[in-house]
Protein backbone atom coordinates (compact mmCIF):
# COMPACT_ATOMS: atom_id res chain seq x y z
CA UNK A 1 0.00 0.00 0.00
CA UNK A 2 2.76 2.42 0.98
CA UNK A 3 4.56 1.46 -2.21
CA UNK A 4 1.55 2.22 -4.38
CA UNK A 5 0.69 5.58 -2.82
CA UNK A 6 4.16 7.08 -2.45
CA UNK A 7 5.04 7.44 -6.13
CA UNK A 8 1.60 8.91 -6.75
CA UNK A 9 2.22 11.59 -4.15
CA UNK A 10 5.51 12.50 -5.73
CA UNK A 11 4.10 12.80 -9.22
CA UNK A 12 1.01 14.67 -8.07
CA UNK A 13 2.03 17.21 -5.44
CA UNK A 14 -1.31 18.99 -5.66
CA UNK A 15 -2.83 16.03 -3.84
CA UNK A 16 -0.42 16.24 -0.91
CA UNK A 17 -2.47 18.72 1.13
CA UNK A 18 -5.55 16.62 0.74
CA UNK A 19 -3.68 13.44 1.58
CA UNK A 20 -2.19 15.11 4.64
CA UNK A 21 -5.71 16.02 5.68
CA UNK A 22 -6.66 12.42 5.19
CA UNK A 23 -3.82 11.27 7.44
CA UNK A 24 -4.84 13.82 10.08
CA UNK A 25 -8.08 12.00 10.44
CA UNK A 26 -6.16 8.89 11.48
CA UNK A 27 -4.60 10.82 14.35
CA UNK A 28 -7.91 12.37 15.33
CA UNK A 29 -9.49 8.92 15.38
CA UNK A 30 -6.84 7.41 17.59
CA UNK A 31 -6.53 10.42 19.90
CA UNK A 32 -9.49 9.65 22.16
CA UNK A 33 -8.67 5.93 22.55
CA UNK A 34 -5.07 6.81 23.38
CA UNK A 35 -6.26 9.30 25.99
CA UNK A 36 -8.40 6.52 27.38
CA UNK A 37 -5.44 4.15 27.71
CA UNK A 38 -3.30 6.81 29.32
CA UNK A 39 -5.99 7.88 31.79
CA UNK A 40 -7.56 4.61 32.80
CA UNK A 41 -4.65 2.19 32.33
CA UNK A 42 -1.37 4.08 32.69
CA UNK A 43 -2.35 6.55 35.41
CA UNK A 44 -3.26 3.63 37.74
CA UNK A 45 -0.05 1.85 36.73
CA UNK A 46 2.00 4.83 37.85
CA UNK A 47 -0.43 5.38 40.71
CA UNK A 48 0.83 2.06 42.05
CA UNK A 49 3.95 3.95 43.21
CA UNK A 50 2.01 4.68 46.40
CA UNK A 51 3.20 1.21 47.39
CA UNK A 52 6.59 2.87 47.87
CA UNK A 53 5.19 5.96 49.59
CA UNK A 54 3.51 6.95 52.77
CA UNK A 55 0.27 7.88 51.10
CA UNK A 56 -1.50 10.88 52.48
CA UNK A 57 -4.91 11.63 50.99
CA UNK A 58 -4.46 15.38 51.48
CA UNK A 59 -1.02 15.52 49.93
CA UNK A 60 -1.99 13.28 47.02
CA UNK A 61 0.12 10.65 45.32
CA UNK A 62 3.01 12.82 44.18
CA UNK A 63 3.52 14.94 47.29
CA UNK A 64 3.46 11.99 49.69
CA UNK A 65 6.94 11.11 51.01
CA UNK A 66 8.86 8.08 49.73
CA UNK A 67 9.38 5.17 52.10
CA UNK A 68 11.11 2.68 49.80
CA UNK A 69 10.26 -0.93 50.48
CA UNK A 70 8.91 -0.23 53.96
CA UNK A 71 5.34 -1.15 52.96
CA UNK A 72 6.49 -4.41 51.39
CA UNK A 73 8.38 -5.27 54.56
CA UNK A 74 5.13 -4.79 56.42
CA UNK A 75 3.22 -6.89 53.90
CA UNK A 76 5.71 -9.76 54.20
CA UNK A 77 5.04 -9.84 57.92
CA UNK A 78 1.28 -10.21 57.49
CA UNK A 79 0.04 -13.72 58.04
CA UNK A 80 -3.09 -13.01 56.00
CA UNK A 81 -0.93 -12.21 52.99
CA UNK A 82 0.80 -15.59 52.99
CA UNK A 83 -2.51 -17.32 53.50
CA UNK A 84 -4.03 -15.48 50.53
CA UNK A 85 -0.96 -16.21 48.41
CA UNK A 86 -1.05 -19.90 49.32
CA UNK A 87 -4.79 -20.15 48.64
CA UNK A 88 -4.41 -18.41 45.29
CA UNK A 89 -1.85 -20.95 44.10
CA UNK A 90 -3.66 -23.87 45.72
CA UNK A 91 -7.06 -23.09 44.20
CA UNK A 92 -5.54 -22.31 40.79
CA UNK A 93 -3.49 -25.50 40.76
CA UNK A 94 -6.39 -27.72 41.83
CA UNK A 95 -8.62 -25.92 39.33
CA UNK A 96 -6.14 -26.69 36.57
CA UNK A 97 -5.92 -30.35 37.57
CA UNK A 98 -9.67 -30.97 37.64
CA UNK A 99 -10.97 -28.41 35.11
CA UNK A 100 -8.38 -28.80 32.38
CA UNK A 101 -8.90 -32.40 31.17
CA UNK A 102 -12.71 -32.34 31.13
CA UNK A 103 -13.26 -30.02 28.14
CA UNK A 104 -10.87 -32.19 26.10
CA UNK A 105 -12.85 -35.35 26.84
CA UNK A 106 -16.14 -33.55 26.32
CA UNK A 107 -14.98 -32.10 22.99
CA UNK A 108 -13.94 -35.54 21.72
CA UNK A 109 -17.27 -36.98 22.80
CA UNK A 110 -19.17 -34.15 21.08
CA UNK A 111 -17.07 -34.66 17.98
CA UNK A 112 -18.10 -38.32 17.84
CA UNK A 113 -21.83 -37.54 17.94
CA UNK A 114 -23.38 -38.25 14.55
CA UNK A 115 -26.85 -36.80 14.89
CA UNK A 116 -26.36 -33.11 14.18
CA UNK A 117 -29.48 -31.73 15.88
CA UNK A 118 -28.66 -33.66 19.03
CA UNK A 119 -25.10 -32.35 19.00
CA UNK A 120 -26.28 -28.76 18.50
CA UNK A 121 -28.81 -29.08 21.30
CA UNK A 122 -26.27 -30.53 23.71
CA UNK A 123 -23.79 -27.77 22.89
CA UNK A 124 -26.45 -25.14 23.50
CA UNK A 125 -27.12 -26.58 26.96
CA UNK A 126 -23.46 -27.08 27.87
CA UNK A 127 -22.47 -23.52 26.93
CA UNK A 128 -25.22 -21.90 28.99
CA UNK A 129 -23.47 -21.73 32.40
CA UNK A 130 -20.68 -19.67 30.85
CA UNK A 131 -23.12 -16.78 30.41
CA UNK A 132 -24.44 -16.83 33.97
CA UNK A 133 -22.77 -14.27 36.24
CA UNK A 134 -20.88 -15.41 39.31
CA UNK A 135 -23.33 -13.61 41.55
CA UNK A 136 -26.17 -15.69 40.14
CA UNK A 137 -24.07 -18.86 40.36
CA UNK A 138 -23.26 -18.02 43.98
CA UNK A 139 -26.96 -17.58 44.71
CA UNK A 140 -27.80 -20.88 43.05
CA UNK A 141 -25.00 -22.60 44.99
CA UNK A 142 -26.39 -21.41 48.32
CA UNK A 143 -29.90 -22.52 47.42
CA UNK A 144 -28.65 -25.92 46.36
CA UNK A 145 -26.01 -26.69 48.93
CA UNK A 146 -26.84 -24.96 52.20
CA UNK A 147 -27.08 -27.32 55.17
CA UNK A 148 -30.54 -26.34 56.36
CA UNK A 149 -32.58 -25.61 53.26
CA UNK A 150 -30.47 -26.81 50.31
CA UNK A 151 -32.06 -29.40 48.07
CA UNK A 152 -28.99 -31.65 48.07
CA UNK A 153 -28.98 -31.95 51.84
CA UNK A 154 -32.76 -32.33 51.90
CA UNK A 155 -32.45 -35.34 49.65
CA UNK A 156 -29.62 -36.76 51.77
CA UNK A 157 -31.71 -36.24 54.90
CA UNK A 158 -34.61 -38.13 53.36
CA UNK A 159 -32.21 -41.10 53.06
CA UNK A 160 -31.21 -40.56 56.69
CA UNK A 161 -27.77 -39.38 55.71
CA UNK A 162 -26.31 -36.56 57.75
CA UNK A 163 -26.25 -33.14 56.11
CA UNK A 164 -22.96 -32.30 54.41
CA UNK A 165 -21.66 -28.73 55.03
CA UNK A 166 -20.57 -28.11 51.43
CA UNK A 167 -20.16 -24.37 51.91
CA UNK A 168 -19.07 -24.05 55.51
CA UNK A 169 -16.43 -26.77 56.05
CA UNK A 170 -13.08 -25.62 54.58
CA UNK A 171 -12.04 -28.87 52.85
CA UNK A 172 -15.52 -29.45 51.47
CA UNK A 173 -15.68 -25.84 50.37
CA UNK A 174 -12.62 -26.36 48.18
CA UNK A 175 -14.39 -29.27 46.46
CA UNK A 176 -17.50 -27.14 46.04
CA UNK A 177 -15.42 -24.33 44.57
CA UNK A 178 -13.82 -26.75 42.10
CA UNK A 179 -17.09 -28.47 41.22
CA UNK A 180 -18.86 -25.21 40.51
CA UNK A 181 -15.91 -24.18 38.36
CA UNK A 182 -16.33 -27.36 36.31
CA UNK A 183 -20.05 -26.72 36.00
CA UNK A 184 -19.44 -23.20 34.78
CA UNK A 185 -16.58 -23.74 32.35
CA UNK A 186 -16.33 -27.35 31.14
CA UNK A 187 -18.87 -26.92 28.33
CA UNK A 188 -17.57 -23.61 27.09
CA UNK A 189 -13.99 -24.90 27.26
CA UNK A 190 -14.78 -27.41 24.51
CA UNK A 191 -15.12 -24.70 21.84
CA UNK A 192 -11.43 -24.17 21.29
CA UNK A 193 -10.87 -27.94 20.94
CA UNK A 194 -13.85 -28.30 18.61
CA UNK A 195 -12.30 -25.57 16.47
CA UNK A 196 -9.03 -27.51 16.42
CA UNK A 197 -10.90 -30.71 15.55
CA UNK A 198 -12.43 -29.17 12.43
CA UNK A 199 -8.88 -28.61 11.22
CA UNK A 200 -8.03 -32.31 11.14
CA UNK A 201 -7.71 -33.69 7.65
CA UNK A 202 -10.75 -35.91 6.86
CA UNK A 203 -8.62 -38.13 4.61
CA UNK A 204 -6.89 -39.49 7.69
CA UNK A 205 -10.17 -40.91 8.99
CA UNK A 206 -11.04 -42.38 5.60
CA UNK A 207 -7.65 -44.01 5.34
CA UNK A 208 -8.13 -45.46 8.81
CA UNK A 209 -11.56 -46.78 7.74
CA UNK A 210 -9.97 -48.57 4.81
CA UNK A 211 -7.56 -50.18 7.23
CA UNK A 212 -10.52 -51.28 9.35
CA UNK A 213 -9.61 -49.18 12.37
CA UNK A 214 -12.18 -49.01 15.15
CA UNK A 215 -13.55 -45.65 16.32
CA UNK A 216 -11.64 -45.85 19.57
CA UNK A 217 -8.41 -46.39 17.65
CA UNK A 218 -9.24 -43.48 15.34
CA UNK A 219 -9.80 -41.25 18.38
CA UNK A 220 -6.52 -42.35 19.86
CA UNK A 221 -4.39 -42.20 16.72
CA UNK A 222 -5.96 -39.34 14.74
CA UNK A 223 -8.16 -37.14 16.93
CA UNK A 224 -5.85 -36.94 19.93
CA UNK A 225 -2.68 -36.12 17.96
CA UNK A 226 -4.76 -33.59 16.01
CA UNK A 227 -5.60 -31.54 19.08
CA UNK A 228 -2.35 -32.16 20.94
CA UNK A 229 -0.82 -28.79 19.96
CA UNK A 230 -3.95 -27.00 21.21
CA UNK A 231 -3.83 -28.93 24.47
CA UNK A 232 -0.18 -28.02 25.01
CA UNK A 233 -0.64 -24.34 24.25
CA UNK A 234 -3.72 -24.06 26.48
CA UNK A 235 -1.89 -25.85 29.27
CA UNK A 236 0.98 -23.40 29.02
CA UNK A 237 -1.43 -20.42 28.97
CA UNK A 238 -3.18 -21.77 32.04
CA UNK A 239 0.09 -22.22 33.89
CA UNK A 240 0.95 -18.67 32.91
CA UNK A 241 -2.16 -17.49 34.74
CA UNK A 242 -1.40 -19.50 37.85
CA UNK A 243 -0.55 -16.47 39.97
CA UNK A 244 -3.62 -14.41 39.14
CA UNK A 245 -7.13 -15.17 40.22
CA UNK A 246 -10.46 -13.55 39.46
CA UNK A 247 -12.38 -11.74 42.14
CA UNK A 248 -16.03 -12.69 41.63
CA UNK A 249 -15.83 -16.46 41.98
CA UNK A 250 -13.98 -16.73 45.32
CA UNK A 251 -15.79 -13.65 46.63
CA UNK A 252 -19.37 -14.79 46.05
CA UNK A 253 -18.71 -18.39 47.08
CA UNK A 254 -16.83 -17.62 50.29
CA UNK A 255 -18.21 -16.99 53.74
CA UNK A 256 -16.65 -16.20 57.13
CA UNK A 257 -16.41 -19.87 58.09
CA UNK A 258 -14.06 -20.81 55.25
CA UNK A 259 -11.78 -17.78 54.85
CA UNK A 260 -8.80 -19.99 55.76
CA UNK A 261 -9.06 -21.57 52.31
CA UNK A 262 -11.18 -19.06 50.37
CA UNK A 263 -9.22 -15.87 50.99
CA UNK A 264 -7.18 -15.20 47.85
CA UNK A 265 -5.07 -12.24 46.77
CA UNK A 266 -7.90 -10.44 44.97
CA UNK A 267 -10.35 -10.69 47.87
CA UNK A 268 -7.60 -9.90 50.37
CA UNK A 269 -6.71 -6.72 48.46
CA UNK A 270 -10.39 -5.78 48.53
CA UNK A 271 -10.64 -6.33 52.26
CA UNK A 272 -7.46 -4.48 53.22
CA UNK A 273 -7.76 -1.76 50.60
CA UNK A 274 -11.43 -0.95 50.23
CA UNK A 275 -13.01 -2.18 53.44
CA UNK A 276 -10.17 -1.16 55.79
CA UNK A 277 -8.94 1.73 53.59
CA UNK A 278 -5.28 0.67 54.01
CA UNK A 279 -4.43 1.86 50.51
CA UNK A 280 -0.66 1.47 50.49
CA UNK A 281 -0.68 -2.02 51.98
CA UNK A 282 -3.33 -3.21 49.54
CA UNK A 283 -1.58 -1.56 46.59
CA UNK A 284 1.68 -3.25 47.54
CA UNK A 285 -0.05 -6.63 47.69
CA UNK A 286 -1.67 -6.01 44.32
CA UNK A 287 1.61 -4.89 42.81
CA UNK A 288 3.41 -7.93 44.18
CA UNK A 289 0.82 -10.17 42.57
CA UNK A 290 0.95 -8.27 39.28
CA UNK A 291 4.72 -8.70 39.10
CA UNK A 292 4.59 -12.40 39.99
CA UNK A 293 1.78 -12.80 37.47
CA UNK A 294 3.84 -11.11 34.78
CA UNK A 295 6.83 -13.35 35.53
CA UNK A 296 4.60 -16.41 35.18
CA UNK A 297 3.14 -15.17 31.90
CA UNK A 298 6.51 -14.30 30.39
CA UNK A 299 7.93 -17.66 31.47
CA UNK A 300 4.96 -19.41 29.91
CA UNK A 301 5.53 -17.48 26.71
CA UNK A 302 9.23 -18.38 26.78
CA UNK A 303 8.43 -22.07 27.27
CA UNK A 304 5.81 -21.93 24.54
CA UNK A 305 8.34 -20.47 22.12
CA UNK A 306 10.76 -23.29 22.97
CA UNK A 307 8.13 -26.04 22.68
CA UNK A 308 5.85 -24.79 19.91
CA UNK A 309 8.00 -22.25 18.07
CA UNK A 310 5.30 -19.71 18.76
CA UNK A 311 4.41 -17.46 21.66
CA UNK A 312 1.16 -17.61 23.57
CA UNK A 313 -0.14 -14.35 22.10
Amino acid sequence: MAISTKPMRRTAPRLSFRSLLREWQLYILILVPLMFFVTFKYVPMFGAVIAFKEYNIFKGIWESPWVGFETFREVFQMQGFYLALRNTFMLNLLDLLVSFPLPIILAIVLNELRVQWFKKGVQMVLYLPHFISWVIIGGIAIQLLSTNTGIVNNVLKSFNIQAIPFLTEPILWVFTYLGIGIWQSAGWGTIIYLAALTGINKDLYEAADVDGASRVRKIWHITMPGIKPTIIILLIINIGHMASIGFDRPFVLSNPLVTDVSEVISTYVYKTGIQSARYTIATAIGLFQAVIGLIFLLSADFISRKVNDQGIW
Partner: protein, 296 residues
Protein backbone atom coordinates in the same frame (compact mmCIF):
# COMPACT_ATOMS: atom_id res chain seq x y z
CA UNK B 1 -19.23 -42.26 8.30
CA UNK B 2 -17.65 -45.70 8.16
CA UNK B 3 -16.81 -46.71 4.63
CA UNK B 4 -19.55 -48.98 3.17
CA UNK B 5 -16.95 -50.89 1.14
CA UNK B 6 -15.37 -52.35 4.22
CA UNK B 7 -18.14 -53.31 6.55
CA UNK B 8 -16.81 -55.14 9.51
CA UNK B 9 -19.45 -56.56 11.79
CA UNK B 10 -17.26 -56.28 14.84
CA UNK B 11 -16.41 -52.60 14.45
CA UNK B 12 -20.03 -51.82 13.59
CA UNK B 13 -21.29 -53.42 16.75
CA UNK B 14 -18.71 -51.75 19.00
CA UNK B 15 -19.47 -48.54 17.09
CA UNK B 16 -23.14 -48.82 18.02
CA UNK B 17 -22.25 -49.53 21.62
CA UNK B 18 -19.91 -46.56 21.64
CA UNK B 19 -22.69 -44.37 20.24
CA UNK B 20 -24.98 -45.36 23.08
CA UNK B 21 -22.30 -44.69 25.69
CA UNK B 22 -21.51 -41.30 24.16
CA UNK B 23 -25.15 -40.27 24.02
CA UNK B 24 -25.54 -41.34 27.62
CA UNK B 25 -22.49 -39.34 28.70
CA UNK B 26 -23.57 -36.08 27.04
CA UNK B 27 -27.16 -36.50 28.20
CA UNK B 28 -26.02 -36.82 31.81
CA UNK B 29 -23.68 -33.86 31.38
CA UNK B 30 -26.51 -31.76 29.93
CA UNK B 31 -28.86 -32.71 32.75
CA UNK B 32 -26.21 -31.81 35.33
CA UNK B 33 -25.87 -28.47 33.58
CA UNK B 34 -29.55 -27.69 33.65
CA UNK B 35 -30.69 -29.30 36.89
CA UNK B 36 -29.55 -26.48 39.24
CA UNK B 37 -31.41 -23.88 37.20
CA UNK B 38 -34.53 -26.04 36.88
CA UNK B 39 -34.50 -26.51 40.64
CA UNK B 40 -34.33 -22.74 41.20
CA UNK B 41 -37.20 -22.28 38.75
CA UNK B 42 -39.22 -24.92 40.63
CA UNK B 43 -38.46 -23.26 43.97
CA UNK B 44 -39.54 -19.87 42.69
CA UNK B 45 -42.90 -21.26 41.60
CA UNK B 46 -43.70 -23.51 44.56
CA UNK B 47 -45.94 -22.97 47.57
CA UNK B 48 -44.50 -22.19 51.00
CA UNK B 49 -45.33 -25.47 52.73
CA UNK B 50 -43.82 -27.56 49.94
CA UNK B 51 -40.61 -25.51 50.08
CA UNK B 52 -40.38 -25.66 53.88
CA UNK B 53 -40.81 -29.41 53.91
CA UNK B 54 -38.04 -29.72 51.33
CA UNK B 55 -40.13 -31.62 48.81
CA UNK B 56 -39.46 -29.39 45.81
CA UNK B 57 -36.88 -30.84 43.43
CA UNK B 58 -37.30 -30.21 39.71
CA UNK B 59 -41.03 -29.66 39.38
CA UNK B 60 -42.99 -26.85 41.09
CA UNK B 61 -45.39 -28.05 43.79
CA UNK B 62 -48.58 -26.06 44.51
CA UNK B 63 -47.93 -23.51 41.73
CA UNK B 64 -47.62 -20.12 43.37
CA UNK B 65 -46.65 -16.85 41.66
CA UNK B 66 -46.48 -14.71 44.81
CA UNK B 67 -42.69 -14.68 44.87
CA UNK B 68 -42.63 -13.22 41.35
CA UNK B 69 -45.29 -10.70 42.31
CA UNK B 70 -43.05 -9.61 45.18
CA UNK B 71 -39.96 -9.38 42.97
CA UNK B 72 -41.64 -7.60 40.06
CA UNK B 73 -43.46 -5.34 42.50
CA UNK B 74 -40.19 -4.39 44.17
CA UNK B 75 -39.11 -0.88 43.20
CA UNK B 76 -35.44 -1.58 43.83
CA UNK B 77 -35.32 -4.65 41.60
CA UNK B 78 -37.13 -2.87 38.77
CA UNK B 79 -34.94 0.21 39.15
CA UNK B 80 -31.82 -1.94 39.00
CA UNK B 81 -33.09 -3.73 35.91
CA UNK B 82 -33.88 -0.48 34.09
CA UNK B 83 -30.62 1.11 35.20
CA UNK B 84 -28.63 -1.94 34.08
CA UNK B 85 -30.29 -2.06 30.66
CA UNK B 86 -29.52 1.63 30.12
CA UNK B 87 -26.00 1.37 31.47
CA UNK B 88 -25.14 -1.70 29.38
CA UNK B 89 -26.52 -0.06 26.21
CA UNK B 90 -24.58 3.15 26.80
CA UNK B 91 -21.44 1.22 27.66
CA UNK B 92 -21.66 -0.96 24.56
CA UNK B 93 -22.13 2.03 22.26
CA UNK B 94 -19.24 3.95 23.78
CA UNK B 95 -16.98 0.90 23.92
CA UNK B 96 -17.66 -0.05 20.29
CA UNK B 97 -17.13 3.52 19.06
CA UNK B 98 -13.84 3.85 20.93
CA UNK B 99 -12.64 0.40 19.90
CA UNK B 100 -13.35 1.01 16.22
CA UNK B 101 -11.75 4.46 16.45
CA UNK B 102 -8.57 2.82 17.69
CA UNK B 103 -8.68 -0.26 15.45
CA UNK B 104 -8.96 1.53 12.10
CA UNK B 105 -5.88 3.80 12.32
CA UNK B 106 -3.82 0.91 13.66
CA UNK B 107 -4.33 -0.96 10.38
CA UNK B 108 -2.77 1.92 8.43
CA UNK B 109 0.94 1.93 7.72
CA UNK B 110 0.84 5.71 7.19
CA UNK B 111 0.08 6.19 10.88
CA UNK B 112 3.34 7.41 12.37
CA UNK B 113 4.10 5.78 15.70
CA UNK B 114 1.82 2.86 14.96
CA UNK B 115 4.13 0.32 16.58
CA UNK B 116 4.47 2.49 19.67
CA UNK B 117 0.68 2.87 19.95
CA UNK B 118 0.24 -0.87 19.57
CA UNK B 119 2.84 -1.50 22.25
CA UNK B 120 1.14 0.96 24.61
CA UNK B 121 -2.14 -0.90 24.09
CA UNK B 122 -0.81 -4.45 24.28
CA UNK B 123 1.03 -3.76 27.56
CA UNK B 124 -2.34 -3.18 29.24
CA UNK B 125 -3.27 -6.77 28.48
CA UNK B 126 -0.54 -8.07 30.73
CA UNK B 127 -0.06 -5.52 33.44
CA UNK B 128 -2.42 -3.27 35.33
CA UNK B 129 -2.16 -0.89 38.22
CA UNK B 130 -4.41 -3.08 40.30
CA UNK B 131 -7.63 -2.67 42.20
CA UNK B 132 -6.59 0.09 44.60
CA UNK B 133 -4.88 2.52 42.19
CA UNK B 134 -7.85 2.13 39.86
CA UNK B 135 -10.21 2.80 42.74
CA UNK B 136 -8.21 5.88 43.76
CA UNK B 137 -8.29 7.14 40.17
CA UNK B 138 -12.06 6.78 39.95
CA UNK B 139 -12.31 8.46 43.34
CA UNK B 140 -10.04 11.34 42.35
CA UNK B 141 -12.00 11.87 39.13
CA UNK B 142 -15.11 12.22 41.30
CA UNK B 143 -16.73 9.30 39.51
CA UNK B 144 -17.68 7.32 42.61
CA UNK B 145 -21.43 6.77 42.74
CA UNK B 146 -21.79 7.76 39.12
CA UNK B 147 -22.84 5.69 36.11
CA UNK B 148 -19.55 6.71 34.45
CA UNK B 149 -17.52 4.72 36.97
CA UNK B 150 -19.06 1.62 35.41
CA UNK B 151 -18.61 2.78 31.82
CA UNK B 152 -15.34 4.65 31.37
CA UNK B 153 -12.70 2.44 33.07
CA UNK B 154 -13.54 -0.55 30.88
CA UNK B 155 -14.41 1.32 27.70
CA UNK B 156 -11.75 -0.39 25.56
CA UNK B 157 -10.72 -4.00 25.89
CA UNK B 158 -7.30 -4.40 24.27
CA UNK B 159 -8.01 -7.98 23.23
CA UNK B 160 -11.26 -7.08 21.46
CA UNK B 161 -9.46 -4.17 19.86
CA UNK B 162 -6.91 -6.56 18.37
CA UNK B 163 -9.65 -8.87 17.07
CA UNK B 164 -11.35 -5.98 15.27
CA UNK B 165 -8.03 -4.67 13.99
CA UNK B 166 -7.17 -8.10 12.57
CA UNK B 167 -10.54 -8.24 10.85
CA UNK B 168 -10.13 -4.75 9.36
CA UNK B 169 -6.69 -5.77 8.06
CA UNK B 170 -8.20 -8.76 6.31
CA UNK B 171 -10.45 -6.57 4.14
CA UNK B 172 -8.85 -6.35 0.68
CA UNK B 173 -7.14 -3.01 0.15
CA UNK B 174 -8.45 -2.70 -3.41
CA UNK B 175 -11.89 -2.02 -1.99
CA UNK B 176 -10.82 1.23 -0.42
CA UNK B 177 -8.13 2.06 -2.97
CA UNK B 178 -10.62 3.30 -5.57
CA UNK B 179 -12.44 5.37 -2.98
CA UNK B 180 -9.12 6.91 -2.00
CA UNK B 181 -8.44 7.76 -5.68
CA UNK B 182 -11.74 9.62 -5.66
CA UNK B 183 -10.48 11.57 -2.67
CA UNK B 184 -12.58 9.91 0.02
CA UNK B 185 -11.43 10.71 3.53
CA UNK B 186 -10.62 8.12 6.16
CA UNK B 187 -13.89 8.91 7.90
CA UNK B 188 -15.75 8.16 4.67
CA UNK B 189 -13.82 4.94 4.07
CA UNK B 190 -14.34 3.77 7.62
CA UNK B 191 -18.06 4.51 7.68
CA UNK B 192 -18.85 3.66 4.07
CA UNK B 193 -16.62 0.68 3.31
CA UNK B 194 -14.94 -0.86 6.34
CA UNK B 195 -17.80 -0.88 8.86
CA UNK B 196 -20.49 -2.28 6.51
CA UNK B 197 -18.11 -5.11 5.60
CA UNK B 198 -17.40 -5.89 9.25
CA UNK B 199 -20.91 -6.22 10.62
CA UNK B 200 -20.57 -9.83 11.85
CA UNK B 201 -17.40 -9.16 13.82
CA UNK B 202 -18.82 -5.88 15.15
CA UNK B 203 -21.96 -7.67 16.32
CA UNK B 204 -19.87 -10.33 18.00
CA UNK B 205 -17.65 -7.89 19.85
CA UNK B 206 -20.69 -5.79 20.85
CA UNK B 207 -22.15 -8.87 22.47
CA UNK B 208 -18.83 -9.61 24.19
CA UNK B 209 -18.86 -6.12 25.66
CA UNK B 210 -22.56 -6.21 26.56
CA UNK B 211 -22.47 -9.59 28.30
CA UNK B 212 -19.29 -8.71 30.18
CA UNK B 213 -20.86 -5.48 31.36
CA UNK B 214 -24.16 -7.14 32.22
CA UNK B 215 -22.47 -9.78 34.35
CA UNK B 216 -19.83 -7.42 35.79
CA UNK B 217 -19.98 -7.11 39.54
CA UNK B 218 -16.68 -6.15 41.14
CA UNK B 219 -16.47 -2.56 39.92
CA UNK B 220 -20.02 -1.85 41.07
CA UNK B 221 -19.16 -3.31 44.47
CA UNK B 222 -16.21 -0.92 44.67
CA UNK B 223 -17.57 2.22 43.07
CA UNK B 224 -21.31 2.31 43.83
CA UNK B 225 -22.66 2.86 47.32
CA UNK B 226 -25.82 4.75 46.37
CA UNK B 227 -28.54 2.13 46.34
CA UNK B 228 -30.36 3.94 43.51
CA UNK B 229 -27.46 3.19 41.18
CA UNK B 230 -27.09 -0.51 42.00
CA UNK B 231 -26.73 -2.60 38.84
CA UNK B 232 -28.71 -5.81 38.84
CA UNK B 233 -25.77 -8.01 39.89
CA UNK B 234 -25.00 -5.91 42.95
CA UNK B 235 -28.70 -5.77 43.86
CA UNK B 236 -28.93 -9.53 43.55
CA UNK B 237 -25.85 -9.92 45.71
CA UNK B 238 -27.43 -7.78 48.42
CA UNK B 239 -30.74 -9.61 48.19
CA UNK B 240 -29.54 -13.18 48.01
CA UNK B 241 -26.13 -13.27 49.69
CA UNK B 242 -26.76 -10.66 52.33
CA UNK B 243 -30.32 -11.86 52.82
CA UNK B 244 -31.90 -8.47 52.27
CA UNK B 245 -34.64 -10.29 50.47
CA UNK B 246 -37.14 -9.70 53.27
CA UNK B 247 -37.26 -6.05 52.29
CA UNK B 248 -39.47 -7.20 49.43
CA UNK B 249 -42.14 -8.41 51.79
CA UNK B 250 -43.42 -4.95 52.69
CA UNK B 251 -47.00 -4.68 51.54
CA UNK B 252 -47.31 -8.30 50.48
CA UNK B 253 -49.60 -9.26 53.36
CA UNK B 254 -50.06 -12.48 55.26
CA UNK B 255 -49.50 -14.93 52.42
CA UNK B 256 -45.89 -13.77 52.14
CA UNK B 257 -43.56 -16.18 50.33
CA UNK B 258 -40.68 -17.72 52.30
CA UNK B 259 -37.15 -16.31 51.72
CA UNK B 260 -36.14 -19.40 49.70
CA UNK B 261 -38.74 -18.80 47.03
CA UNK B 262 -38.08 -15.03 47.06
CA UNK B 263 -34.37 -15.66 46.52
CA UNK B 264 -35.14 -18.15 43.78
CA UNK B 265 -37.48 -15.70 42.07
CA UNK B 266 -34.84 -12.95 42.34
CA UNK B 267 -32.26 -15.25 40.76
CA UNK B 268 -34.66 -16.08 37.94
CA UNK B 269 -35.42 -12.37 37.53
CA UNK B 270 -31.73 -11.62 37.01
CA UNK B 271 -31.16 -14.65 34.77
CA UNK B 272 -34.18 -14.17 32.52
CA UNK B 273 -32.74 -11.34 30.35
CA UNK B 274 -29.68 -13.48 29.56
CA UNK B 275 -31.85 -16.51 28.78
CA UNK B 276 -34.01 -14.42 26.43
CA UNK B 277 -31.07 -13.44 24.24
CA UNK B 278 -29.17 -16.67 24.75
CA UNK B 279 -29.80 -18.21 21.29
CA UNK B 280 -28.14 -15.20 19.63
CA UNK B 281 -25.48 -14.92 22.28
CA UNK B 282 -24.44 -18.49 21.83
CA UNK B 283 -24.15 -18.27 18.05
CA UNK B 284 -22.14 -15.05 18.01
CA UNK B 285 -19.94 -16.04 20.93
CA UNK B 286 -18.98 -19.31 19.31
CA UNK B 287 -18.05 -17.56 16.07
CA UNK B 288 -16.18 -14.93 18.09
CA UNK B 289 -14.22 -17.60 19.92
CA UNK B 290 -13.33 -19.10 16.56
CA UNK B 291 -11.94 -15.76 15.35
CA UNK B 292 -9.93 -15.50 18.54
CA UNK B 293 -8.76 -19.08 18.29
CA UNK B 294 -7.69 -18.79 14.68
CA UNK B 295 -5.90 -15.57 15.51
CA UNK B 296 -4.12 -17.36 18.34
Amino acid sequence: MTSPNHPSIRTNRTGKLLDIVLILVVTIASLLCLAPMIHILALSLSGNSAIMSGKVTLIPIDMDWTAYKAVFGNDQMIRSLVFTIGMVSLFTMIAMTMTVMAAYPLTKKQLKGRDLFLFVIVVTMFFSGGMIPEYLLVKNLNLLDSIWSLILPGAINAFYLLIIKTFFSSIPLELEESARMDGASHFRILLGIILPLSLPVLATISLFYAVGRWNGFMDALLYITNSNLYPLQLRLYEMVMNSQVNSMLEGIGTAAPVPESLKAASIMFATLPILLVYPWLQRYFVSGMMIGAVKG
